[in-house]
Symmetry: C2
Subunit: 337 residues, 2 copies
């Protein structure tokens, strides 16, 4: 059995490390020839997690996503959401249909406001039952240094999710399995909005007391949104609701992202709070913080879900409708309990 991994950023590189550490053959789709050549000559990715040495006997490195899919039984997609359409542009529906797709993408297909599973279903009639999301609070750098992390595998086909989880479990990866394939992916998107918001709060010079109240209330808003957005999938209520949304893939990921001082979302938000425009902050950072498109995607999604999202909405208005950050946070202040 061969496992494909598409993506040579830090997250894709971490997946390949985990899988090859576990002795699996990996067909790795990387961005360019320079990376491929470097991998075989120096045994590491020149751009990300360069301390990780690979057993190149286990690697088959390709440049075209389509080749990775054809060569693999299971395909892990670990690219930024901005590249999803490109990755699947040349892919054949029949070839894809026999594979399992594991999404490690924390975002929606741009312009479509779709999760990867919905995009694949629409474009290739790819079945949800062959799809598993791989999420959780996991800085790739800590995978590189083999510090214990928890990954959550969510699939409508629970035995498949369990089988996939088994490929990743090892001494530094603990796995969790559930059926909440929509909720896990939405949580991964929403927490970027709140982490960006935490950055704005910091830029506005709120302190740690406020930050803790803000993040706790973000957890509430996110959980209640997820319940509404996925109630058909999960049917959860009562204590089980609290149990679910305090687990690693929901609250844990919100915490690791919001409290990380080095995350893009936090840094980007900090600049907004200090008075930079979105455009200047992007220019200055030379990258996009995922919370920025995420805030728009969740507003779109909420046109159907109709959850009460005062925090995410205020952040959206600051980022997309030029509301002054001070004003946005004054409205957030009133909502917090």
């Amino acid at each position: 059995m061969t496992i494909g991994v598409i993506g040579s950023g830090s997250w894709g590189t971490a997946q390949v490390k985990i899988l090859t550490d576990n002795g699996h053959r990996v067909c790795w789709g990387v961005r360019n020839e320079r990376i491929r050549e470097h991998l075989f000559r120096r045994r590491h990715n020149p751009q990300y997690l360069s301390s990780v040495q690979f057993d190149t006997n286990l690697l088959d490195v390709r440049l075209l996503p389509d080749e990775v899919i054809r060569s693999s039984d299971i395909v892990v997609v670990a690219v930024p959401s901005a590249y999803l359409e490109d990755v699947f542009a040349g892919v054949d529906a029949a070839a894809l249909g026999t594979k399992k797709v594991i999404s490690a993408v924390k975002g929606m297909v741009p312009g479509r406001f779709q999760l990867l599973n919905d995009f694949l279903q629409e474009k290739f009639s790819f079945p949800l039952s062959s799809y598993v999301s791989l999420m959780g609070p996991c800085h790739a750098e800590e995978v590189a240094s083999e510090r214990l992390s928890y990954l959550t595998f969510s699939g409508s086909d629970l035995p498949l999710a369990e089988q996939i989880a088994g490929l990743f479990a090892n001494s530094y990866i603990n796995t969790v399995v559930n059926k909440d394939v929509y909720g896990g992916q939405y949580a991964a998107i929403m927490k970027n909005i709140y982490a960006l918001g935490a950055g704005i709060a910091h830029g506005l010079e709120y302190g740690d007391n406020f930050l803790s109240v803000f993040i706790a209330n973000c957890a509430r808003e996110m959980g209640l949104f997820l319940q509404k957005a996925t109630s058909l999938n999960t049917g959860l209520s009562g204590e089980d609701l609290y149990r679910l949304y305090t687990s690693s893939v929901y609250l844990g990921d919100l915490l690791v992202t919001s409290y990380s001082l080095y995350s893009r979302n936090r840094t980007f938000g900090n600049m907004i709070g200090k008075g930079y425009s979105v455009q200047s902050a992007q220019l200055e950072m030379n990258m996009i913080a995922e919370g920025y498109p995420a805030s728009r995607a969740i507003q779109k999604l909420n046109e159907k879900v109709l959850a009460h999202l005062p925090i995410a909405t205020a952040i959206y208005e600051i980022l997309w409708e030029k509301k002054a950050p001070e004003e946005g946070f004054r409205s957030i202040e009133k909502e917090l309990i």
Copy 2:
């Protein structure tokens, strides 16, 4: 109306700042004559939050708690839990009975494993209806610098809790009111255990990924304990459970304490994780971390509540039964989701 504040540590000093900023007369019980003399000569507490200048026209400073109680209509108790018996040793039940007691104490009466309200009820037949707890994620230093903080006032008599909250609300203090007088106080005790545990995890060199999963699971354990421990008081279920326990006094306080790098609990735990004995860590720090007695108190309490507390129990065993921290955390690892 005069408000008494007993306690001249950082938390008591912060209360007096808030109340005098709001124009209230405060009868302040401080530890010794030196502090009293300094307050009137220099207008600040020489030991804590010394940047805070008081309007001494609003202050009546006393050395005996009994005098504070006699001189006040409402008495805020803001001493470390270790001193509670001393504070109330010379107090007259009849005098106390006509007052309202506001507890800002984050701990139980030592040896008795009682919250202050239960202690007062047993010793003075003091009614729960005259008691309000004042809790929430609030580093006193941020009150000193007037950064927005949220305080939660919990009382079985909700109008009283609202009235008390009204005395504190101002431009940098937002107030929340609820009836969960037991849950709010238990949460303030439990979060110290988990913050100490976060310190142990850090000492054992777990990373940020693990820490986020650990704290998320602590939130679950704490919420489900609180529900069991206080079900008679609150009668909550379903979504309301999730709403309640993601608010500032529960999850917020857990977050601010667990993510604070400077808290005693975190520092103490870190030393335990690095291999210090409890005795050496106490000697080295020259103070007690509140999570240490708290871990024993919650075990005692749980003899009646019978909640599933694998995290708090492992921390208790490390601190009180000489379980190796590595071994305690190996058992915790298995419980996390």
